[in-house]
């Protein structure tokens, strides 16, 4: 871990580089306009590293685009001024804007890695910029490109590669180098690491922090993740519903947050390695166990049913020496070993976490257990079903008992079917209920996942629901067949921090109430800590560590587990 940048005293009495005065950005005009940014004012001094935090829809990206003059219709600056080095950005025309990109403002986008032209080599990307701005002598093109690529910790060989040959992290580094090539005074990073894998995320973030120090540019880091921002920025602005609700040095935000919203965001961070882990809605797991089955009042929803007795015929999911090998992606390459000799048993009513970075094989295991893919070798048994060799025709028998909660609630619901339809189908298919009975059951399911008033929610289409509500519908659908096993594949990774705890609490609730066993697949160790009893850490398809969740996270033995734990952005880590 690099020392916290804001631990050093920020260079005092600096001149103002950027001044935003009473800025409002609207989408559309008139009364129906969406006011994305409202009356925002702030100053940025030379060499400052400022974080801009907010949840989705808070207007942080809209603000970022306005600062860089990249606002596209229907977004437009309703009022206010953005003074960069004394010039108002809003008043510049397209050509003036283009010219000021050299030595002016550069932006690195969330999907920056996809912003590279797939048919042009990395070298050509640099040459394009050098040619457009003419600020580098032709004879120095290669030297300068090599220098820039070195700054983002890539080797010069990368210059001759094509974007498709680079990993996501490398491509994001390239786009940072491209932004740097114009020697900008102000860099705006819009969620630069969100689309990257956890471990890569950490490394790229460190590069950005190092670069900011060595190149001494001014930086704005836009992120939804307060942890990342607090770790890297000197000053943090918290945005909520288009307004900046708090603007303070990072340490002050952490130790003495003023706004309620900031406090709420902070409350959702905890160190999974701590003795006691508590999140809003979650008391510590160990303590809860000690209190017995009595449930905490803080949980979002408390149905009045008594805990369901375990079914007599409840089965364990038994996975024995399972491997999955995919054919080589290209001729001459080795076949891909996605899952390597994995064995485990998911006992009835248990909660098991499967953690690992992307490519560790955790999603492949989910596919194998649900018979979507067939294992290359090994056996998967569930009751008397041999899942590994299950015929498509017998899927219903398996899916009656094994259901799945998908990662992306935005794509897991058919946009054209109402919530009612999505829930009615599995009810009819699995329980044999029809007509009014089926409808009664659907409304019951909605009530169970806390979507009240049920009648109203039943009639809604997915796009009328928020992300958290959609995920609740997805969970309700998984419950419709009254399954024994629920596989949750990163169920909260696409949700805002404040919504996560609610969905996790719901999953936890259901598991305790219904005696459903849960296979929780995630890269997020903190959520694994609060909802699961046991954990399995996967690396390259193989299990590297397994045991009680709290024990493993407190005393990780394997190097990979330690690296995963280190990669978690945690503001408190800096202070400790």
């Amino acid at each position: 871990m690099t020392p916290a940048p804001y631990a050093q005293t920020p260079p005092a009495a600096n001149t103002t580089l950027l001044e935003v005065h009473d800025l409002s950005v609207h989408y559309g005009y008139g009364a129906g306009a969406t006011k994305a940014v409202q009356n925002v004012s702030f100053r940025l001094a030379h060499g400052e590293f400022v974080g801009l935090v907010g949840e989705s829809g808070s207007g942080k990206s809209t603000l970022g685009f306005a600062l860089t003059g990249l606002s596209k219709p229907p977004a437009h600056i309703e009022k206010g001024r953005i003074l960069f080095g004394g010039k108002d950005i809003a008043s510049l025309d397209a050509e003036q804007l283009r010219e000021q990109r050299h030595g002016g403002i550069a932006m690195v986008l969330q999907s920056g890695m996809n912003a590279l032209n797939p048919v042009r080599s990395i070298r050509n990307h640099f040459v394009d910029i050098f040619r457009a701005h003419g600020h580098v002598d032709r004879s120095r093109w290669t030297a300068r490109a090599t220098e820039l690529i070195g700054k983002v910790e890539l080797t010069p060989q990368v210059l001759d590669r094509f974007p498709g040959e680079l990993s996501g992290g490398m491509r994001q580094r390239v786009s940072i180098a491209l932004a740097l090539s114009l020697e900008p005074e102000l860099m705006v990073f819009d969620e630069p690491t969100t689309a990257l894998d956890v471990l890569v995320q950490h490394a790229v973030m460190n590069t950005i922090i190092e670069l900011q120090k060595s190149e001494n540019f001014t930086a704005i880091l836009i992120s939804h993740d307060l942890g990342i921002v607090l770790e890297s920025a000197q000053r943090v602005m918290v945005m909520h519903e288009g307004r900046i609700v708090e603007d303070a040095p990072a340490r002050q935000i952490l130790e003495n947050p003023q706004a309620d919203y900031t406090r709420m965001l902070l409350s959702h961070y905890a160190d999974p390695r701590a003795e006691v882990v508590e999140l809003p809605g979650f008391a510590d797991r160990q303590q809860r166990k000690a209190e017995g089955a009595s449930r905490t009042e803080a949980a979002t929803h408390t149905p009045t049913v008594s805990p369901r007795t375990l079914r007599a015929d409840q089965h364990a999911m038994i996975v024995e020496n399972v491997s999955k090998i995919y054919p080589a992606p290209r001729r001459g390459e080795a076949p891909v070993r996605a899952v390597d000799n994995v064995s485990f048993t998911l006992e009835p009513g248990a909660a098991l976490a499967l953690v690992g970075a992307s490519g560790s094989g955790k999603s492949t295991i989910a596919k194998l257990i649900t018979a979507v893919e067939k294992p290359t070798s090994g056996r998967i048994r569930f009751g008397d079903l041999d899942v590994g060799s299950l015929n498509r025709r017998h899927f219903r028998r398996l899916h009656r008992d094994v259901q799945m909660v998908f990662q992306d609630p935005y794509s897991a619901l058919n946009p054209l079917h109402t919530v009612e339809y999505a829930l009615t189908r599995p009810v009819i298919n699995f329980t044999g209920l029809h007509g009014t009975d089926a409808r009664r059951r659907v409304l019951e399911l909605l009530d169970i996942v806390g979507l009240n008033p049920v009648e109203e929610f039943a009639a809604k289409l997915p796009h009328q629901l928020s992300g958290g509500q959609r995920q609740r519908v997805v969970i309700a659908r998984a419950l419709a067949s009254d399954p024994q096993v629920i596989i949750a594949d990163e169920p909260v990774s696409m949700l805002d921090v404040s919504l996560r705890a609610g969905v996790l609490a719901l999953l936890e609730d259901l598991r305790e109430q219904w005696g459903v066993s849960l296979l929780y697949i995630t890269h997020d160790l903190l959520s694994a800590r609060v909802v699961t009893d046991n954990i399995m850490v996967l690396n390259g398809g193989a299990v590297v560590e397994t045991g009680n969740t709290a024990d493993v996270l407190r005393n990780p033995q394997d190097d990979y587990t330690i690296r995963l734990l280190d990669a978690i952005p945690n503001p408190r880590k800096v202070v400790a």
Binding site: G28, G32, P303, T304, V305, R308, R311, T370, V372, F395, R396, H399, R400, Q403, M404, F406, Q407, D408, S411, A412, L413, N414, P415, L416, H417, T418, E420, A422, T424, R425, P426, N429, F430, T431, G432, L433, T436, R439, R440, R441, L443, E444, D447, I448, N452, V454, E455, A459, L461, H463, V474, R477, A478, A480, S481, D482, W514
Partner: protein, 310 residues
Amino acid sequence: MTTSLPPTTAAIRAPITAIGEAPSAWKVVVRVASTVWSNGKARIGLVMLALFVLLAIFAPLIAPYGASETGFERSADGSAAHWLGTTAAGEDVLSQLLYGAQVSIFVGLVAGLLSTIIAVLIGLSWGYVRGFGADVINFIVNLFLVIPGLPLMIVIAAYLSGGGIGMIIVVVVITGWAWGARVLRSQTQSLRSRDFVTAAVFSGERPFRIVFREILPNMTSLIVGNFFGAATAAILAEAGLEFLGLGDSTVVSWGTMLFWAQNSNALLTGQWALLFAPGLCIALLATSLTLINFGVDGISNPRLREGTKR
């Protein structure tokens, strides 16, 4: 199975008293119609189409004379008695135009519908199945695609000669479905990998239902677009075949009107209305279908639908 369900009524915190009816199919139709109507261009198209359909239906009432009623002055220019003049055979052009609309609209809608149905059935199942079956369909569709359309049409029409309107429809359908099937197949393939399709498998749905209830509604705009495209092509193909004299030249349609006008060198005699009137009608009918297509986009995209209200 019902025995293992959790208690049905006890689980409800607030007892659900009234259980209303689920939204009916009728409401869906109304929703779709209002979506299309809310688009300005589509509204113009619908009005134009409605006008053509009404003219076709009420042609016997509106038309001043019978369609093949001869005995008027031959090749006359427009006058109070014959607004658009008469043909070389002494028939009233306006009456022919009105009666001709019946054939053109009928062939357009029926042939368009039939070729769309075939395209949907083949395209969607082709997109959803994998393996050997897909290869077989692939071969057949490619066969239809590589054969040039117009020559094939002419060969089939010559072979089935004398079949009249039914024959024309068959020819247009045989030569017209393959392109739509290919377009729908590629869209099906991209939708097949979406999470909600996997979720439908988890909901215990059978493949047939997944294809036609989960995937198909998401391609409504593509399918309706395909229908309007096929209908337009059918109207043009019908006119083309008739113009070439491959249809039944005694039937009065816009195509045969063009055929006879060409035969009698209408342009040389200065009777431009003979060519211009049916030509413009064909163009306007095709335009109205294309305009309706704009409104159809909103059906598959609920966001677009709400966007129009703003």
